[in-house]
């Protein structure tokens, strides 16, 4: 029971952090480590970096269960991202699409791709050239929070904009 309270408290802290100032501790999108290339490969800090994007605009948006629609909150974040991208015209990004674990593996790979594309479509509609934006899906393979509760699942259903 205590572990569960701590887990919930942790998740709430992260939620609070995300809405105002994304937690830079683990690196936005989390270091992907062994298991494949990916994750931000540009400079870690300073203007035009991942940290800059995360603290200025927010580097991620979240999705409802089994859905890929962009919510009003997500729209706001992506608007700020597009402004940031206009400020740094040499920066290109990869949108990572992720899912929670409550789905089958291959369907989640496809859903992650659909989510990444949703984000890309909004950024393109906001004027960013499609050539600056790649997409990749990680399905349910890279949870941000490795816990099996609804708050963690909500954090894992995400589209993360990573600086190339």
């Amino acid at each position: 029971m205590l572990t569960r309270l701590i887990a919930v408290a942790g998740a709430l802290l992260l939620l609070a952090a995300c809405s105002s100032n994304p937690d830079p501790a683990g690196g936005p999108g989390g270091p992907l480590g062994p298991g494949g290339p990916g994750g931000p490969s540009g400079p870690r800090s300073g203007p035009g970096s991942q940290q800059d994007l995360a603290s200025t605009a927010g580097d991620r948006v979240f999705f409802a269960y089994d859905r890929a629609e962009i919510s009003p909150e997500a729209q706001q974040i992506l608007r700020r991202q597009s402004e940031w991208l206009r400020r740094y015209p040499n920066v290109s990004v990869t949108i990572e699409g992720h899912c929670d674990e409550r789905g089958t593996r291959e369907y989640n790979l496809a859903l992650g791709e659909r989510r990444a594309q949703s984000v890309k479509n909004v950024l393109v509609a906001l004027g960013i050239p499609a050539g600056r934006i790649q997409t990749i899906s990680y399905g349910k393979e890279r949870p941000e929070i490795p816990l099996s509760d609804n708050q963690s699942y909500a954090q894992n259903r995400r589209g993360v904009t990573t600086v190339n």
Binding site: G36, T104, R105, E113
Partner: protein, 443 residues
């Protein structure tokens, strides 16, 4: 004594098979197990060490042990404790049936091993009906000593077939994804083993994320998804050569690959601009053709054993459901109609059933249904069970089960279950495991 010669290829090594008939009397009361008859009392069977073989007879004991373990794992046989055996069957000696009836054996296996000058050996076995005092089957195999495990599995398959009337599934391999490390940075490696867990080896080193492997019909190749090139892409792995190659440079993400029953094509999913459809790749021309269209998610395709149809999952109707189409595309019919979501369909090698993963009310299930969607039956339920794969006789399924994360759990293991929903067993793997695929019977 009538003899019949068959040559089986065993990964390029010739295997000579000789049928031994001793007393070819018609069987009166057949010693039989009916696989579909609900809960079955396992048949008591005695499998003493095979006689001979030199080196203190170790190989004879090993053969008997692997055969016993195979038969026991099916849930249909109960190998008796060798310490209870009364007769010590020497090479060439027949059974003293009274001794075996006394310990309540219904079936008896006797065997012998003879080493030959060229380093090969000859393994003979006979299966006996203890109460009818008749031989039911007898074969002799000649092969290299390293093949001894294959011989044990082949013998176990012969015994299984003679008693149940169904083909066995013991002379097979499993390819799966071996997992380690924390959930956010999970290391996944392609791994392969005999179906009883022996001869385990890793095929990739874990540097690239790999998922969802499948055997070719010859079991000589594996197709799977890898992130080695950055974008998720389908690869082919040649087991003998130990080499992998990409299926080709196609824009977008390619994944969920499966071989066609004739081994000439790979059907797969391809995502472009957020839409995922099913395509088929001709392995000789490396040309890719489209099978489905529309802005849905169409994935996890699986061929019927005659190659004429493909079952797949799609959300084209608003939720993740199962559909069947002609293998050339077209004729798409929905076959799942229950509440919840259906995924990972796999067509049985017998053609009579489709197994799937179902998610409903927060639980995961493994189930089967007929190819027209009727007769849906759920076999097991848990927090997360997924990814069924059929044994080649279409009577047993393997899948993986994952625990809840964060409570020292989140571990993932392989399990088998038979079609009645009984005999659920964990499959031994060195670490965590997921995405199993069962090979056909090896040739």
């Amino acid at each position: 004594m009538t003899m019949k010669n068959n040559i089986l290829g065993v990964a390029g090594v010739a295997l000579t098979v000789v049928v031994l008939l001793l007393m070819s009397l018609p069987a009166s009361a057949e010693l039989r197990i009916d696989l579909l008859r609900g809960k079955i009392e396992p048949m008591p069977i005695a499998i003493p060490a095979f006689a001979g073989g030199g080196e203190g007879g170790q190989v004879g004991r090993d053969l008997a042990q692997v055969i016993s373990a195979d038969l026991e794992s099916s849930g249909l046989f109960r190998p008796l404790d060798p310490r209870s055996f009364i007769q010590n069957v020497a090479a060439g000696e027949g059974p003293r049936f009274g001794d075996w009836r006394q310990i309540s054996a219904q079936a008896l296996v006797t065997g012998s091993v003879q080493t030959q000058g060229d380093g090969r050996f000859r393994v003979e076995f006979r299966l006996w009906d203890v109460f009818a005092e008749q031989q039911l089957a007898g074969f002799a195999y000649t092969t290299t000593r390293q093949n001894w495990r294959r011989i044990a599995h082949i013998i176990a398959d012969q015994i299984y077939k003679r008693i149940t009337g169904e083909d066995g599934y013991f002379d097979t391999r499993i390819v799966y994804i071996s997992e380690s490390g924390p959930a956010q940075k999970r290391v996944k490696r392609l791994a392969m083993m005999d179906q009883d867990g022996a001869n385990h080896r890793y095929l990739t080193d874990g540097r690239a994320l790999v998922l969802t492997p499948r055997f070719s019909p010859s079991a000589q190749e594996i197709t799977y998804l890898s992130y080695a090139a950055g974008t998720p892409r389908v690869y082919l792995f040649n087991i003998d050569a130990g080499r992998q190659e990409s299926i080709g440079d196609f824009p977008g993400m390619t994944f969920a690959p499966r071989f066609s029953p004739d081994g000439n094509r790979v059907v797969l999913s391809r995502s472009v601009n957020g839409t995922t459809n099913i395509f088929v790749l001709d392995l000789r021309s490396r040309k890719m053709s489209r099978l489905t269209e529309g802005s849905s998610i169409d994935t996890t395709p699986s061929y019927s054993p005659d190659g004429g149809k493909i079952v797949f999952n799609s959300d084209r109707g608003g939720s993740q459901q199962l559909y069947v189409m002609d293998s050339g595309g077209g004729g798409i019919k929905r076959i799942s109609f229950g509440a919840g979501k259906y995924g990972t369909p796999v067509w049985s090698p017998r053609g009579d059933l489709i197994a799937f993963t179902k998610i409903e009310g927060g639980s995961f299930y493994i189930g089967v249904m007929k190819p027209d969607g009727s007769g849906e039956r759920l076999l097991t339920r848990d927090f997360l069970v997924e990814g069924p794969t059929w044994a080649p006789n279409g009577r047993v399924l393997m899948y993986f089960r994952q625990g809840r994360s964060g409570r020292g759990g989140g571990s993932s293991r392989l399990f088998t279950i038979d079609l009645t929903g009984g005999n659920q067993r964990e499959v031994p793997t060195p670490g965590d495991a997921s995405d199993p695929a069962w090979s056909p019977l090896l040739r």
